[in-house]
Symmetry: C2
């Protein structure tokens, strides 16, 4: 299967799962589900959950066990975009070629839809952890957990519950004040002034990098990856996270607004500190080349199985939207 | 010890714990912690975490084990107030006698501070669950969990991890789209029109009731309460949650703005549906009397130990702010 077909197949699996996780409801608060679903189904690339599934595939893990966490990450990503687009924040009217959430549902509902998506992400992960307990207690179905299912015992073998809690912990930290939200704060406070290259990298490591890394690492944790494997994947995730942001900044200057489904040039207009404004366009492009090469190299030891993840690094490098 | 001293002692314990959970940091995103702490320490009554601790005390539980969940609930409550006060929502300038979060830190930061508090609530709860595993695996300290610490085994005895996950699940559901946020959505969509008594009660069961109930029930779950005990406490929680909201609506008409630290009359000005607008002031007051009596009666079987919780019901009934 070629890269695009494989990518699309996984993205489609994610779409179906998300559709179930945030279903429409005919209750008095039903409109919140519409608002949540609007942004969830607005044609995102599903890069983060696809990364999770690709890591799982490479490590020989079980995709359905990864899915709740992969979808939770996509929901966290989506809520951050809804809030980021608000008039009080970036004040964007379009996202992925469609009117932004607050343009359709109003500002108050957009705030609540974002809140609800973040909350739902954790509901899904907690339910997943709990399901593992309840299933085993009441139904005795999960026979394979019976032997390894002792939690908190003296063993180097982590139980499934421990792994899931560790994955949830990685995601929670990545999306919080010391991760994604922290990056947004630095971004906010950097507007209109030129920041140091170090602070720029710090900002993006938090703002975009943390959640991309969480997508890779939560999957690695859930699949029981070794310390060595986790270390390689961590480097890979950090590199593609940085590459993603450099490319974003380049596209904001050079991209085609029609193809991207949103306006370009907004960074310059908002006097944002970007890789382009700090390092210049040419230097940013050569940084992107270097970092992409480093990402690919970092997972070379996984051999042929790492092919898809390498292709993702190239996809991030070459993307037009 | 009299009621007020006992209440204040627990509230003070909560204050100290919160101070640790959301500490100031000297990092580039440091201002987010200032914004989070501003609203967290703005003089809230700490009703929800005090309820958790009181239930724990009544059931003979261990307060430090309840504390992370009690604080998480207070953080969720605080984030909902920050977002609720935003210009796009209720547009309130004062809360508890102090300028609202967005008035001090700006709208963008207030959105992010709210997001970060919700996220932090889950970080704390997940860390707490995980700590139980990691502690036992690495340090062998938690000897008392060694016997009961099997997760997912065939037993009616729930393990500590399962109880914590169940508590987190109850909190997550209460704060989400089918709980608190759902209630806010109904509230938003009810502005300017008279709603049915049924919808009014549904709205408040979600908006205020769900999180108050979660404070009581998560503590009961963590303390390993019996089904019978949980059932009584559930009734109690539902009654005081409703009483709290009826009193809120009455105070918005009759309260003293100086004492309350915020403007009154805003419900009528915003054409909100309230108990007073739907049932009238006198009927609302007699409903408040009845429901308070029912709350007290519902925990009568706990005997003398339930005294503090009964006093809380009276406190909610009599409060002036």
């Amino acid at each position: 299967m070629d890269f695009k077909s494989a990518y699309d197949r996984w993205a489609e699996m994610v779409n179906r799962a998300i559709d179930n996780y945030v279903a429409e409801k005919d209750t008095p608060e039903g409109s919140i589900y519409k608002a949540m679903r609007y942004s969830l189904t607005a044609g995102g690339k599903r890069l983060r959950p696809v990364l999770s599934l690709a890591v799982c595939d490479m490590l020989g893990g079980n995709a359905p066990e990864i899915m709740p966490f992969a979808c939770a990450i996509e929901m966290i990503h989506t809520y951050s975009l809804i809030h980021d687009d608000l008039p009080a924040m970036d004040n964007d009217d379009y996202r992925r070629g469609k009117p932004t959430n607050h343009k359709v549902f109003g500002e108050a509902m957009a705030v609540l839809a974002g809140d609800a998506l973040l909350n739902r992400a954790f509901e899904i992960m907690v339910d997943n952890c709990l399901g593992l307990c309840v299933k085993d207690i009441h139904y005795q179905k999960a026979a394979r957990f019976k032997n390894s299912g002792k939690c908190c015992v003296n063993s180097k073998e982590m139980s499934p519950i421990t792994l899931r809690l560790m994955a949830m912990d990685a995601i929670a930290e990545a999306s919080g004040a010391s991760g994604m939200i922290g990056g947004q704060v630095v971004d906010l406070e950097s507007e209109g002034r030129l920041i140091s290259p170090e602070l720029l990298q710090y900002m993006h490591r938090c703002k975009t990098g943390a959640l991309i890394k969480a997508a890779v690492m939560s999957s690695a944790i859930l699949c029981g990856a070794s310390e060595d494997e986790k270390s390689r994947l961590e480097t890979y995730a950090e590199k593609i996270g940085l590459a993603f942001q450099i490319k974003d900044d380049i596209l904001n200057v050079e991209g085609n607004p029609e193809e991207m489904g949103k306006a370009t040039g907004s960074d310059a207009a908002n006097k944002k500190s970007t890789f382009v404004s700090v390092f210049g366009l040419e230097r940013s492009k050569s940084m992107l080349d270097d970092i992409t090469a480093q990402a690919i190299l970092s997972i070379d030891e996984f051999g042929k199985k790492a092919e898809f993840l390498k292709e993702i690094a190239i996809y991030i490098h070459n993307r037009n939207k």
